[in-house]
Amino acid sequence: MISHTRFLLCSVAAASLTAMVQPASAAPWQRGFVVATYEYAFRYGGRAGFERAGDIEPGSDCLHGSSVHFANDKNTEAALKQPFRSKYEIEAISRPPGLEQVKAPVLTRFHIWNRAITYRAWKRGIETYVNPWAAEDPGQPEVTGKIATGFNLDGNSNTGGFVSEDGERGIDNALYRAWGCDAPWRGNGNATLHLRANDKMQGGLYTMVIRVSGNKDPMNDDNAIVEIGYSPDKITKNARGDVAADYSYRIVKSEQYTKLKARVRNGVVETEQVEELHAPRIAWFYDHAGDADFRKGKIRLEIAPDGNAKGLIGGYRDWRKLYTENTFAQDGGQQGIREHEDGVALYYALKRNADGMADSKTGEKMGISSTYRITAMPAYVVDSAKPLGVTIIQAEEKRKDAFLAIREATIKSTKTRIVQGVPPGTTQGAFPALERNIQDLPSKEFFLKVLDRPHYPGEAMEIEGERFNLKSGDELPAKPEPSKPAASDKQVRNETASAKVADAR
């Protein structure tokens, strides 16, 4: 009896102790996150206080620092040495005569440079950003460091050429090698396009959510599930302007969505590698936002005790799509001059470093290994009672159509080597911006005559909501709006019907 009582007491004590150690060992669990920052996982190798004349932040990643394309008139002059240009033409473009006499000299020179660098092919009239292969390679500083953030995507420790920060060999992140020294993507948390893309995402351009679920312990579960996808609900910020914790977001499952098996060990979530990983892609405009479409993709997420998370999303991306997403958010020349990058150099760097998605017929590598870095805040990721789709903003759809058209034309040109024209609706070649801003420049006739520009059929065209005379570039009165615009069949709005996304620029 005594022993029985003692046994019972011991059993109860042991059971209580077990329950205390593993309180949720067999209970279903779920953790949700809203992505707060989303960037290319480019490892910055600069060192505070280390400088070298002529180089921008040289470091262990980029020996000569960040790219300086079009950073000054000499760099621009070097990019304009096509055989069809005269010495005078190159000199005049680089340092436009009479510039000191105009009201906005910086803007005027910007548009002249934009138009000139948009035509750098082997002969006049071939637009360069749609047909980058028809121009000579201007060269791109590449990462020469050996340490990179990322995954061993091909399972081969002898390929990739990088070692991870914790010593894993065979890291495949060829996008880092190709673009890691590109000025707008390089920095210690201050890369301009990373800042821009995160600002727009946090400002409501798009929302990405992650949900991790399982049946054992949230910190250790070998049979967990990770879902990643788009949410139509805009990111909520707190009073300090940071992404707020613990808000609810619906998840869209019809597109930009992937469900993966995962294993959680000590709070580190590691998914399986899947053939296709769909999730929102990095964007800073509505027109080029969409599906990242990783191949052989996987996710790693580290959940901190405070519930916040950081992690990586990796896989092979179609390098042609990457090129177009980066180049045509606005137009190639504009982004190049503003960000000191050269789309043509980036095109060749992608092609040269492509390392995956081999075409079954030609063997050409259609993909480039890449890793994106995220930080995320805890959130409630919920299913919707009604089917959801990605938010469609009617006011921006024409611009999106123009992006899709120029992307299609570019991909076609790069695959077929048939020169493609610029589809209407874009601002390629600073048209009609140059025509409008060059009026008070004494040498305007020279530039308007000698510089190529896109030509379109018809007499008028709408660019970014305004109509222009195609010959003169003059603005035309707007067409009357149709009484009722066609509604999208998958529209889910978070804003008022009349809202535009002008603030997203």
Binding site: G54, D55, C62, L63, H64, G65, S67, V68, P83, W122, W133, A134, A135, E136, D137, G139, Q140, P141, E142, T144, C181, A345, Y348, A349, K351, R352, N353, D355, G363, E364, T414, T416, R417, I418, V419
Partner: protein, 206 residues
């Protein structure tokens, strides 16, 4: 016996030629002609004797383009570069290097690997460093004259009437390589990228 063998070869050749021609013609007969904007670019075939290649070692080749009608240095050198790119891809290579074969006393700028002025740039190709060697005959001359881009002399045809050049030959020694190209090698050329650039520009000389 020798004579009959020649006859057999000649007959085989005669029979094979139309067969080969037939094998190439049906494609256009079966497939409707696409609109002009969708016609894939193609470089016309060179006439016999215009292009030749010599295998120096399994990965090393000497390519030569010969002609009688001199057009321009740029056009003929670009055609040779395109042949080098095509050969590289046919050999399942991804890039090739030009073996310059400089000799003591040569002049001309050395290819630069990674000078600070270029901010550590990497390239898929640099046409400025595609510098093959020439030899030529002027009208009435019996012997070939060699012109090297490293001689320090002006290009032999500069300032001359092209009609005075009766024969020319341009050649390059290349090594075909596989895998991701070394973008820091100034004499490296990525075959696919180079072919893309040149395919709409070149045609064989005559």
């Amino acid at each position: 016996m020798k004579r009959s063998l020649i006859l057999v070869f000649a007959m085989t050749g005669l029979c094979a030629m139309p067969l080969a021609a037939l094998a190439q013609t049906p494609a256009s007969a079966v497939t409707p002609t696409p609109p002009p904007s969708d016609i894939l670019p193609m470089v016309p075939s060179a006439k016999p004797g215009v292009y030749s290649q010599q295998t120096v070692s399994p990965a090393r080749f000497r390519l030569t383009v010969t002609g009688k009608t001199f057009t321009s240095r740029e056009a003929i050198e670009k055609y040779l570069a395109w042949r080098a790119a095509e050969l590289t891809m046919a050999q399942k290579g991804t890039w090739f290097t030009l073996n310059e074969g400089r000799q003591a006393g040569d002049a001309g700028p050395e290819p630069v690997n990674d000078d600070p002025a270029r901010a550590g740039k990497r390239y898929s190709f640099r046409m400025a460093y595609w510098r093959p060697v020439w030899r030529y005959k002027t009208a009435g001359a019996a012997n070939w004259t060699v012109w090297s881009p490293f001689s320090g002399q002006a290009f032999f045809a500069d300032g001359k009437d092209p009609k005075t050049i009766s024969d020319f030959e341009v050649s390059a020694d290349i090594t075909i390589r596989k895998g991701t190209m070394d973008g820091a090698n100034p004499l490296g050329f990525e075959a696919s990228a180079l072919s893309d650039l040149l395919i709409n520009q070149v045609s064989p000389p005559e």
